[in-house]
Symmetry: C2
Subunit: 296 residues, 2 copies
């Protein structure tokens, strides 16, 4: 399997669908539409959508059952980046090699662009379209899964803890909470939502859930590593950001070497969780390795 | 019918359910929980929840079919107030007689509290619980209705236009957009969501939709009037805010007298829309009058 070609092909499928799901707004709200589009099409890797599609496939379904959820996850991920970058939050000026949303559109429109993207995600989830094999109950389960993972009990809670922990020194309980919630919980939900919409049996759902947890953590740790060692030209943003902001990260708490080893171990455990699944899980296996071997 | 007693009884029902729906967060995210609670229980009128319950009742159902949607609407309304009050938006320090969320918890936690409330709304909608009479398809229709009304094509679009229009002089097309979207669209959705969950037939849904549109506009105009003439002690916030910020409102564009007459006319049209409905629509009739006769 050629991972690069696979990622490019899937990202293209997602991009086409995202374009369809982005509402065209009338003149008085054109600025809002521009702000939403700017970040939605800023060149993201589409990792969460690709995970949702690959998970549906691993559960034996046509990946298209998860296409609305895949797009909703990207709307949510994009909103979270816009809000995280705000001056009151991480105060970042660059993202993916471009000025951040509030630098271009101002803080008010950036906050609203985030709000609009988050809300649109649930419109997409509720309206699909889905193939006839997907039941309304499965759709509700996917909505609940994603809402819980993205909200106060998931990503938003993790971001709140992250902001609070800055400059507070190293508390492993809090670091663990930040890691499992800030990034991990939406990645886990991406995998689970794909499986739920595929109608995966309980045993498959359990394997995929474990996979999602492991790669969620691996991804966050490798993000911390990239912030410390990555190439700012490839990352599209300045590095050493975490240390400068006295962020509590795996690297600042345990050091670079331990962080790298832990990410690698978690990616291997993610792959191992798929042992009961057949060749349809092959893309997920490659994605586990990609999570820790990527350079951006 | 004693409207005051009715409103108090329904607000109590809603408050008890809101309490149940507010997640308890662990220590690292306690600040977020506190910020969410602070605004959710800051003494709102619970108008949107009460409309949703009354609409389900008008459509012949037990109002409890709409209780999760009612709470979700209040979570959404609360988030919108927190974000609207932010320094980058309307920069308001007082709301309902208390300091606004960002004054108490800081901007970062206020943004996140809003994000958490909005996301939790969709978790509530997806998980209920609902009585067995409510189908999964009806729930999805209510989610789509609320997401569309709250998002970029509704409330968020209206707020974006409102911010853009400040100090820009009076353009009736833009004022109309702001009015129908910023407040009107979530009020309309409150009425429609109640009807959808009640399984209302098309003709009832049409009447209730028209009702929702009329009171949505009446409410926004009467809000503009209150900002210009209300008692700050009863309102719990300073008045003459709109004029000071050069906001484009019905009062600034058409004057106080015309605004009052228009609100009254719209409330009457709202009542007239219910002519085909029986005594179960009585609370909605009272609520139409309340919308324009209230003093806060």
């Amino acid at each position: 399997m050629n991972l690069e070609a696979y990622l490019a092909e899937r990202a293209q499928l997602v991009d086409r669908a995202l374009e369809k799901y982005m509402p065209a707004l009338p003149r008085p709200a054109k600025e809002l539409e521009n702000a939403m589009r700017y970040s939605l099409f800023a060149g993201g890797k589409r990792l969460r959508p690709i995970l949702a599609l690959a998970s549906a496939e691993a559960a034996g379904a046509d990946p298209v059952v998860a296409l609305p959820a895949a797009c909703a996850l990207e709307f949510i991920h994009t909103y979270s980046l816009i809000h995280d970058d705000l001056p009151a939050m991480d105060n970042d000026d660059w993202r993916r090699g471009k000025p951040t949303n509030h630098i271009v559109f101002g803080e008010a429109q950036a906050i609203l662009a985030g709000d609009g993207l988050l809300t649109q995600a649930f419109y997409i989830l509720a309206t699909g379209p889905y193939p006839p094999s997907v039941t309304a109950e499965q759709i509700l389960a996917a909505i609940a899964e994603i809402a819980r993972a993205a909200g106060a009990e998931g990503m938003v809670g993790g971001q709140s803890a992250d902001i609070r922990a800055q400059g507070q020194g190293g508390d492993p309980e809090i670091l663990d909470y930040i890691h499992t919630h800030k990034t991990g919980s939406l990645l886990r939900a991406s995998v689970r939502a794909g499986a739920l919409l595929a109608g995966a049996p309980m045993s498959t759902l359990s394997s995929l859930t474990l996979y999602g947890e492991k790669i969620g953590l691996a991804f966050q740790i490798s993000d911390d590593v990239l912030d410390s060692t990555g190439d700012p030209k490839i990352l599209g943003k300045p590095v050493k950001n975490d240390a400068q902001k006295q962020k509590l990260t795996y690297v600042t708490l345990y050091g670079l070497e331990k962080a790298r080893a832990e990410a690698k171990r978690l990616a291997e455990e993610a792959e191992a969780a798929l042992v009961g699944l057949g060749p349809s899980a092959e893309p997920l296996r490659y994605l586990a390795r990609f999570t820790v071997e990527r350079n951006h």
